[in-house]
Each structure stands twice: as structure tokens, then as C-alpha cells.
């Protein structure tokens, strides 16, 4: 009896460790889209140039109607968006903390994100 309980506890601990590793090591593919979108009757216009940087890494610049793919591990990330005009002059810089769920693929519309006033934004996508 004692032995069976010990084995069951061990199995439960290993399963928990597995779940923890899953959450900790899950890599999300985040697609950042910079295109005009209509959401609930409101039109969000895309900027001419947007510089995207996650967690202080090097900036990736995308133009109007373009997209960039990022691979992020972990749930919480600091996002820095630099909006520029067509000559490359910086118009504004927006910094936000984004929280990702366990989705594998997440698509983010930058114009909508820029209009969102909240500091921390929760993003969800497709699980598989």
C-alpha cells in the first residue's frame, strides 16, 4: 500500500513537471501584421513604417501592408513599436507588455494594437 502511494505520488509529480516544462518551453509563432483592418465597423489604418522589437532585441522594420514573424518563448514579453512616416522619421514610440496564452500561432494586427490604450495586452491565437 505504502509503495503504491509512493509510485502514484511520483507519477503525479512527473506529470506536473511535464506540464510545467510545457508551459515554460512553449514557443509561439507571432505574426505581426501592418495592414489596414476593419474591426466591428471601425477602420484602423496602418502606418507607413513600423519598427518592432521584443524584449530589447534588435528592431525589425516593416512597411505598409507587410508582416514579420517572431518566435517567442515564455508568456510575458516587452514589446516596443516605433511608428515612422515614409521618410523614416519617428512619429511615436509605444511600449507595451504583452501576455501570450499557450497558443502556438498568434496573429497580431499592429494598427489595432497601437490604438489599444491598455498597458498589458493579452493575446490569444490558435492552439495547434
Amino acid at each position: 500500500m505504502k509503495r503504491t502511494v509512493f509510485i502514484l505520488i511520483l507519477i503525479a509529480l512527473l506529470v506536473l513537471l511535464g506540464v510545467w516544462m510545457f508551459v515554460l518551453g512553449r514557443q509561439r509563432t507571432v505574426v505581426m501584421r501592418n495592414e489596414d483592418i476593419d474591426r466591428h465597423g471601425i477602420t484602423y489604418e496602418a502606418a507607413q513604417i513600423v519598427g518592432i522589437s521584443f524584449d530589447g532585441a534588435a528592431e525589425t522594420e516593416i512597411t505598409y501592408d507587410d508582416a514579420a514573424v517572431f518566435y517567442l518563448v515564455g508568456s510575458s514579453h516587452k514589446l516596443k513599436l516605433r511608428v515612422a512616416d515614409e521618410d523614416g522619421n519617428t512619429l511615436r514610440v509605444v511600449e507595451k507588455t504583452i501576455k501570450l496564452d499557450l497558443s502556438k500561432n498568434i496573429t497580431v494586427d499592429i494598427p489595432e494594437l497601437l490604438e489599444n490604450k491598455e498597458e498589458v495586452i493579452k493575446l490569444t491565437g490558435k492552439m495547434w
Partner: protein
């Protein structure tokens, strides 16, 4: 009795006992200058290959301790490790958590396969090596059925980079980008131009400590008793069959972890081939290190890995430089590698025969000495 041996006999015994490592040292010493490789390159290669292969070879020690010979069934664990890697790649789990999760997934599969292997080997006592070798082929068939037909269909695997275009079955090659050299680079260390996979070495050191500790435990002592004489051990109340199964289970689980460490270093998983040669190469390495079917130590593992892989590195270039053609160099490598494995096994069989002869001769000597005493 060895005290009565002359110097020549002692020397002869030394050469007989260490024939395989000595042969390899000689061939390596001849091949290294011909290959033209620099010392830095060779040291880097050896350090990388020790990190890559030692864990797999160390997994062979416990079945030898239990008198079950060389566990060709370690490929079962290797397959379990690969299944773990397929799942974490599908789920996009990267880094150290990915490798730990792959190990956790492989563990129950390895345990089940180990129990199956141990149970079969208990029905084939005395013929464990041949039986485990054939069992490896059988489970390989089951593995292929699961990976080629069930995965993507019955077993959910959704990543398009893994599943074949027909909708089920796993692709032939999987890039392990998310976990490539994660353990190796866990603790980065570079001395001059040589980078040392300290993280992997740390894991290998932990396994060595585990093996040293395990030998001193009750279970370890039971295994040694079983290796000495199964019937005596049974009479002494040791559960022989159960202990033998445990030794195979531990070996299979460790082989699964070893395969994960091996593949994270390679960075690519060949779904249907990666495990094929795992058993043969690991066994060849441990034999080259001076181990036998009945006796193997941790130094045997490291000596074997160094000598075997030194041959692997230098033989193609040595062949190319000797013969002058790159393709022939590759054949030369195959010829040397497999030829040496055959020699290692033949020398092992020859040494066993010599040991038996010496044992018989010594028994006759004891009898001859005893007779005059009895007359007195």
C-alpha cells in the same frame, strides 16, 4: 595464482586482456599523421563526441553488472527517446524544458519496452545478446508502424513540417532547431579555440556518480551476485528474474535519455534511421575500451568512445590521403569501422576461449599439486 606467473606470462596476459584497445591505439597512431588533421581539430572533435556518445555507452553498464551481457536492446530506449523528440517538436517546446519534456515522455515508453525486453531475456537466459539484438529488429518494426502510420492519424501530430503530405506518418528527417545543442551550450566554456560542452559533461558526470552509487546499493549487490551465479543467487533469496528486468529497464531508460542527448548535439533526427546503429556503435565503443561481456567499468566507456571516434574522424581522411580519392576515403572509413568492430568481437571471443583454457590448466595444476600431498 597470478603470483606464480613469470614476467613473460604476465606480459602475454596483459596483451591478451587489452588486445582490442592496444590494436586501436596502434591503428590510431598510424592513421592520425596520415590524416593530416591538426591537434586542435582532433581535440575539439573528441570533446564533442565524448559529450555526444558517452551517455549512451554508459547505459550499457548495468546489464553487464547483472551478467546479462551487452544490451543490444538499448535501441528500444533510443526509439522511445526519438518519440519524445517528435512530440516536443510538434508541440514547439524548445530549450532545456523541451529536452526535459522529451525525457519525461520517453521514460514510460522506455519502462514498458524495458519490461518487455527483460521478460523476453529471462526466457532466453544465456543467449541474451542475440535475443536482444533480434528484439531490437522486432520493436523497430513496431516503431515504424507507429511513426509511419499512427502518427498524424490515430496519434495527433499536426505540425506540417513533421507530417507527410498524405496527412499521416512522420517525415524522414526532422530538424531539431529548438533544442539544438541546448545541453552543450547550457554552461558555455571556451578554452582557446576549443569549446567544451560543459553542460553535457555535467549530466554525464551525474550518471557516472549514479552508477558508482548504484553498485553499492542492495540492488546493485544483488545484480553482482546474479552475475556470479544465478542459481546461488536464487538460493540466497534474491529475486533473479525481477532484478534482471530492473537492470534492463534502467538501461533502456538511460538509453532513451542518451539518444536525446545524442540527437540534441546532432540537431537533426533521422526518424527511421537514427536509432539503427546506436546499439552496435555503443557496444563497439565499450568493447574497444577494453570491456568484456562480463566486465565493464566507467573508464572502459571513455577510453572506448575516444578510440572508436578517433578512428571515425581520422580514417576517411587517412584513406583519402593514402588512396587519393574522396569516395574511396569514405569506403575506407566504413571498412575500418566495421572491420574493427568485427575484430573486437572476434578478439573478445578468442580471449574468452583463452581464459577458459587457462582456467582448465590452472585446475589441472591444483589437482597435480594436491595429489602428492594426499600421498603424504
Amino acid at each position: 595464482m597470478s603470483q606464480n606467473l613469470t614476467f613473460t606470462e604476465k606480459l602475454k596476459n596483459f596483451f591478451i586482456s587489452n588486445a582490442v584497445p592496444i590494436l586501436f591505439v596502434v591503428i590510431t597512431l598510424l592513421a592520425v599523421p596520415v590524416s593530416g588533421f591538426s591537434a586542435t581539430y582532433l581535440i575539439q572533435e573528441m570533446i564533442t563526441r565524448i559529450g555526444r556518445n558517452s551517455f549512451l555507452v554508459l547505459s550499457l553498464l548495468l546489464p553487464i553488472l547483472a551478467g546479462m551481457g551487452l544490451n543490444f536492446g538499448m535501441v528500444l530506449g533510443a526509439m522511445a527517446g526519438q518519440i519524445g523528440l517528435i512530440f516536443i517538436t510538434d508541440w514547439s517546446i524548445v530549450g532545456i524544458p523541451g529536452l526535459v519534456l522529451a525525457m519525461l515522455i520517453s521514460t514510460p515508453i522506455s519502462i514498458l519496452l524495458g519490461i518487455l525486453c527483460g521478460s523476453v531475456l529471462n526466457r532466453a537466459k544465456g543467449r541474451e545478446m542475440a535475443t536482444s539484438y533480434i528484439l531490437g529488429f522486432f520493436i523497430n518494426g513496431v516503431y515504424q508502424l507507429v511513426v509511419l502510420y499512427f502518427m498524424g492519424g490515430i496519434i495527433p501530430v499536426k505540425s506540417p513540417s513533421l507530417v507527410l503530405s498524405r496527412g499521416y506518418g512522420i517525415r524522414n528527417t526532422i530538424a531539431l532547431d529548438g533544442v539544438r545543442q541546448v545541453f552543450d551550450n547550457m554552461i558555455p566554456l571556451k578554452i582557446g579555440e576549443i569549446s567544451i560542452p560543459l553542460g553535457t559533461f555535467f549530466i554525464i558526470a551525474l550518471l557516472c556518480l549514479f552508477i558508482l552509487w548504484f553498485r553499492k546499493t542492495k540492488l546493485g549487490q544483488d545484480m553482482r551476485a546474479i552475475a556470479q551465479d544465478m542459481k546461488v543467487a536464487q538460493s540466497a533469496g534474491i529475486p533473479v528474474d525481477r532484478t534482471r528486468i530492473i537492470s534492463i529497464v534502467i538501461s533502456t531508460v538511460l538509453a532513451g535519455y542518451g539518444q536525446i542527448i545524442f540527437l540534441q548535439n546532432m540537431g537533426t533526427l533521422s526518424t527511421y534511421n537514427s536509432h539503427d546503429q546506436t546499439g552496435v556503435f555503443s557496444i563497439a565503443a565499450i568493447l574497444i575500451g577494453g570491456a568484456t561481456v562480463s566486465r565493464a567499468t566507467i573508464p572502459n566507456v571513455f577510453i572506448g568512445v575516444i578510440l572508436f571516434h578517433m578512428m571515425f574522424v581520422v580514417s576517411p581522411m587517412a584513406g583519402k590521403n593514402l588512396i587519393g580519392q574522396a569516395m574511396l576515403g569514405e569506403y575506407f572509413r566504413q571498412f575500418i569501422s566495421y572491420g574493427i568492430i568485427a575484430i573486437a568481437l572476434v578478439l573478445h571471443a578468442w580471449r574468452r576461449q583463452k581464459d577458459k583454457e587457462m582456467e582448465r590448466r590452472s585446475l589441472r595444476g591444483v589437482k597435480a599439486e594436491k595429489q602428492p600431498q594426499a600421498e603424504k
